[in-house]
Every structure is written in structure tokens, then in C-alpha cells.
Subunit: 210 residues, 4 copies
């Protein structure tokens, strides 16, 4: 048994507790930092707008993209939570793809800020279109690591605690591919319909969560 | 037993460890980010005010709303901690309502900043009134998910580790309803008495905690 | 045994896992946010200073207070870690004093920023003196909850996992009182010697840690 | 056995759970805060640049240093994760060196911002060279605590859960020394080739991770 532990250590397989803790931290911070991107109107802006409420109303795209980003990160966390009830051990390659997933998640506040910044210009402005495409591309990239995670785990079944059928593996790999397709199409759609696509992301997150 | 585990996985019930870890992260970040909303006076502002202390004194509403927001998030965390000693399993719906709770908590720094921004204008200014109402509405919204959490858990008693009496269920559901009522009334009161309502939130948090 | 669990729940005693997780989150965020208070010189400031290095040199007080705040929060965390190897259960009152401790810790970035903002004015300027006093007062306040935590735990010995002798209790309570005295004296000294006091905080943290 | 526990407590040895949780928090926050350093162009900057995309293109050094910092912190976390599968107990000295490691990690967003700020001036500008050197020095400093951690643990073998051979100890200590050498050379190289060195950090992180 001690030898087994040593050999597991040599092959650098370890359990998932710390990967989950570190990932939970990144998800929690990314989702909570989003609120800092909503601009608090200062005294001059409030005065010029004729009051606090009129100063807040033009910020509606920021609230909308806040909601879309919050729910999307929330759904990626839910997914992470479910995947790591199936995966019970991690190795270097799995750690790497998990880090790539966290890279995409931690980056979401940036395209989120671009959408919030450009949508008020006009919901069909060239900048709002560009921002919606970038937003969709980042969401699409966030689905890619899942495909590699499942492809890798299928080759290393000792990372999963129990027997998984061939059809089940196909399901695991197909799901993120479908997600990738949906978000890639949305990214293209964002060029033509920036505002409806942001609303679509909210709907997608509610759909994936329930 | 293995079959039981599989069927639990199929119905996507899992234990609460990661939900608690992720939620703890969001609570910890939201409560710690609040300090960034207190404006540090720069060299020009310190000079114009005639010194650091005179430059800090007009920031008292920011300190007051910092205290109210910190204690309110702290009390919501205490409540979350207590609820998840009763609830021992989570499913999709519970995860969703927990995410809605975190949405409200993560959003608190925004209305907090509005109150800190507008109270110095005058404790009866129209903007301070609007800010106090928005602040109260967000606190009210933060009580709503608890009602749905308890209604759902009552329908799925396997999420609770032990037998709960009918009267106990009613208590669980009534408590957040009472909280919702108190915060809704405070939100309305905020329109008439912005400053006393912020102080009321501090008193409510101390009362709920002890 | 089940009855015991129920009665413990009724008296709202629970184990310390989540309190530690939530506190670790607040400590980790407060200590990591400090870096955001160090101003990154912009293109104009770099140009006016005649280069990046000359633009960074006047920021030395910010680096010094960064180090003092980082190490002090680190030492408070080390202390929290040690205390919660002795305390094994939490109740409402203990949760409350722990929240008061986190309030002081989460607030540290603010006086830290005041010191970093005012020390460059001159190490004996009136503003640097005020900032050093405020900094010391916040550090002093951060020692107060420990006294109340130990006084409360002594009255509720079931929160501690093992027998504690009377002399041990006195040691537990005396230590934060000594810390409080040292930081209170430092706060007063800060009025006369702002810069040496910031260096003293670094030395104190190294001393308390080792 | 109880005596053993007490004596362990007296010598202040404790298990690694909270050190790992606190460290995970600092790593997660430092890695997620990096995105805040990427400047979101405002309406005026977008207009002056002739659109969102032309306004984003000059930010490429910020994206590059974001990637280098994210991956480097990710690799330090992976390393921390591996080291704490070998180390199973912590004492004061180990806690101190872990805190020094976290100090270096939490500081990375600052030199990262300096690189992002100065590289757009010109990839051979004097400021970009200075920034690349500072960046490399901070990465070098982040390798130092590992050497002291292993030297200390070798003297206190009870902190490791199992027998470690003399050659294994030498490997443990040699690895961070090699890392230190590589980053120190990179820091010097940064003076001559700021941009290639940032790309080198990305390559090094990918190499160390896989």
C-alpha cells in the first residue's frame, strides 16, 4: 500500500481537494469582481444627469452584461462541481486543462467591461458589435478545456472512481462540443445583434442551470 | 450501495462541501471588497481640506454604509452557515437559489457605493433618498432566495439529514418572510429617512447576529 | 447521541470548519488586495520623472506600508490558525467576535493607503503623523476581539476540545492584552515618529511570527 | 496519545489544511486580480482610436504580460500543491517561509502592471527594460522561499509523512535553485530583450507545468 502511494506520487496523481479549492477561489473572485465594473456615477455625473436615478438608467447595459457574466460563470462553476464528482484524481495534464479553464473564467470581467462600455453608444454601433463578438469568443474558449479534460480522462480511466461505459464517455465529450457550437454561433450572431445576444446568454445560463 | 451512489449522481444530488466553499468565497470577497469603495483622499483633496483629518471627516457616510454592508453580509453568511448545518445535500434547484442569493450578496458593494456617494450631499437630499431605497431593495432581494430554498427543501426532504417536524418547516419558511418584510419596510422608510435607515441596518445586523 | 446533536444544534454550536474557511477567505483577500493600493505610474508620470525607476523611487513609503500591512495581516492569520487549533466549536457569540476581528482585518487596506499617500509629503508632516496614528489605532482595534474571544471561551469550556488549566486561561487572555498595549503605544508614538513606527510594525510582525 | 497531541501543540506543529486553504486563497486572488490591470478603453479613447478594435490592439503587451503572470502564478500553485503532498505538518518556520512565498506571489500584479504600462512605449525603450528586469527579479524572489522550505523540512523530518532518502532531499533543494538561476538569468536578459523575455516566461510556465 505504501508502495502504491509512492508510485502514485511519482506519477503525480493526487486527489482533487486542492484543485477544487483553488478553482472555487478563482470562480468566486471572478464572479464577485464583476460588480466593480459597474461604474458608480460621481457627484458631477449625478448633477449633470439631474439626479441619481437618471444617472443610473443609461447604465442598463452594464447591469445586463453583469447578469449575463454572473450567470455564465455560475453555470461554469456548477458544471465544474458536477464534473469533479465524476473525476476523483488529477494529474499534470488535467491540472493544465483546468488552469486553461480558469484562465478563460478569470478573463471574463474584461469582455464584460467592453460590452458595458460600448452598448450605451447604441445597440447597433460598430463597437457594440465588436464587443459582443469578443464576449462570445471568450465564452466559446471557456468550453474548449472541457473537451480536452474528457478526452484525457477517457485515456486515463484511473482518474475516475468508477467504471464508465463507452456511450457515457461519448456523452461527456459531446456535451462541451455542443456548448462550444452554441457559443460560437452566438459570437457570430453578436456581430449582427449585440443586445439580443447578451440577453441570449442570460437565457442560456438559466437553461443550462435548470 | 454503489447503485445508490450512481442513482444519486444521476439525480445530481451531491453533498454541500463545494457549495459551501464557493459561497464562503463569494461572501468573503464581497465583504472584503467593500473597503475599496471608501475613497482615499489624494494629495490635492488633503491640501484643499486643510489636512488629512479634515479631508476624512466628510467621508463619515462612507464609513457608516461600510459598517452597515459589512455587518449585513456577515449576518447573511452566519445564516448561510446555520442553514447548511440543516441542509446536507444539494440538487440543481437548490444550487440555483443559492446562486441567486450570491448574486444579491455580490451586488451589495454597488448600492453601498451609491449611499456613500450621495449621503454627503445632504442627509435629506433627493439622491440620498433614492440611494437608500435602492440599498434597501437589494437587502430585501437578498432575503427572497431563502424562502424558495426552504420551500424546495420541504418538498425534497432527502436534502435534509434528519426528520423535520411540520411546525419546524413553517418556522424555517416564516423567518426569511419576516426578514423580507422588515427590509421591504426599511426600503420604503429609506425614502423618508435615508440616514436613520442606514443606522437601522447596523442595528438589525447586530440584533440578527446575537 | 442523536439527541446530543439536536441539542447542540438548538444551542447553535457548530464545528469550526466553515468559520475557518470564511475567515481564511477574508484574510487571503485583504492581504492580496494591498498590492492594488500601490500606484502604478502612468505614461505622463514616468515621462515627468525622467524614467520608470525615478518614478518608482518616491513610492518607497507605499512599499514600506505594503510590507508592514502584509506581515501584520499574515501574523493575525497565523494567530487565528493557532487559536482555532485550541477552539474546536463555535457559537453565536464566538462567531460575532470573529466577525469583529475580520472587520478590523478587512479595513486595514484603508489606513495602509493613508500612510502610503501621506508619508511622501514628508516623514514629519502633520498628515503623515495623523495617518500613522490611524494605522496604529486600527492595528490596536484588531487585538480587541481576541480578548473577548478568550473571555467568552473560558465561560463556555465546551468550545475547547480538552481541559485547560486556570493558568493557561490567564496566558490566553494576557497575550492579546499585551499585544493591545504594544499597538496602542505604537499608535501614540506614530504621532511623533510616523516613519519609524511603520518600520516597527514590520519588526513586530517578524518577532510575533518567529 | 493525548500527551503526544499536547506536546505537538506546544511545539506548535499543526497539519497543513488551513495553510493550504489560506495559500489557495492568495493564489486564486492574485491570479484573478490580474485582469483588473488590463485597461478597458473609455469612450474617448475608443473614439480617438477610430473604434473598439483599433483601441484594443495597442494593448497587446498587457495581454502578453497577463498571460505570462497568469501562467507563472498557476505553475507556482501547481508546485505548492505538489510540495504539500510531501509535507504533511507545518511549524512556525515553515509558516513563515510560506508567507514569504505568498508575499512574492501577491506582489506579482505590480511588476505585471509595470510591463503592461511600459512595453507599448517601444519594445526596446529604457522603461520597458527596467520593467522587464523588475518583473524577472520578483519571479526570482518567488523561488527563494522554496529553498528555505526544503532546507528547514530536511532538518525537521517529522514534517514529512514518510522516509525521504538523502538523494531525494538533494533533488528537492536543487530544483528551486535551478528555477532561481533560470529566473535570475531571465531578469538580466530582460534588460537587453524585454519582449522576448516576457514570451520566455510563458514558455517556461508551459514547460514547468507539463
Amino acid at each position: 500500500m505504501f508502495a502504491g502511494l509512492t508510485s502514485a506520487r511519482d506519477r503525480r496523481i493526487s486527489d482533487t481537494a486542492r484543485v477544487e479549492a483553488f478553482s472555487d477561489g478563482v470562480f468566486a473572485i471572478a464572479i464577485t469582481l464583476l460588480v466593480l465594473e459597474i461604474h458608480v456615477p460621481d457627484a458631477v455625473e449625478i448633477h449633470d444627469a439631474g439626479g441619481l436615478v437618471p444617472a443610473l438608467l443609461p447604465l442598463w447595459p452594464a447591469f445586463l452584461s453583469y447578469l449575463a457574466s454572473f450567470l455564465t460563470i455560475g453555470v461554469i462553476w456548477l458544471n465544474h462541481h458536477r464534473v469533479f464528482t465524476v473525476i476523483v484524481k488529477v494529474d499534470r495534464v488535467l491540472n493544465w486543462w483546468n488552469l486553461m479553464l480558469l484562465l478563460a473564467v478569470a478573463f471574463i470581467p474584461f469582455p464584460n467591461a467592453l460590452v458595458a462600455q460600448t452598448l450605451p453608444e447604441g445597440i447597433q454601433s460598430a463597437d457594440a458589435r465588436s464587443a459582443a463578438v469578443i464576449y462570445g469568443v471568450v465564452f466559446t474558449l471557456a468550453t474548449v478545456p472541457w473537451v480536452f479534460i474528457w478526452l484525457h480522462v477517457r485515456r486515463r480511466p484511473e482518474l475516475v472512481g468508477h467504471q464508465v461505459s463507452a456511450s457515457r464517455w461519448r456523452t461527456y465529450i459531446r456535451r462541451p462540443l455542443i456548448g462550444m457550437g452554441i457559443y460560437a454561433v452566438s459570437a457570430v450572431l453578436g456581430y449582427f445583434l449585440p443586445l439580443p445576444v447578451v440577453i441570449l446568454y442570460i437565457a442560456l445560463a438559466v437553461f443550462f442551470a435548470l
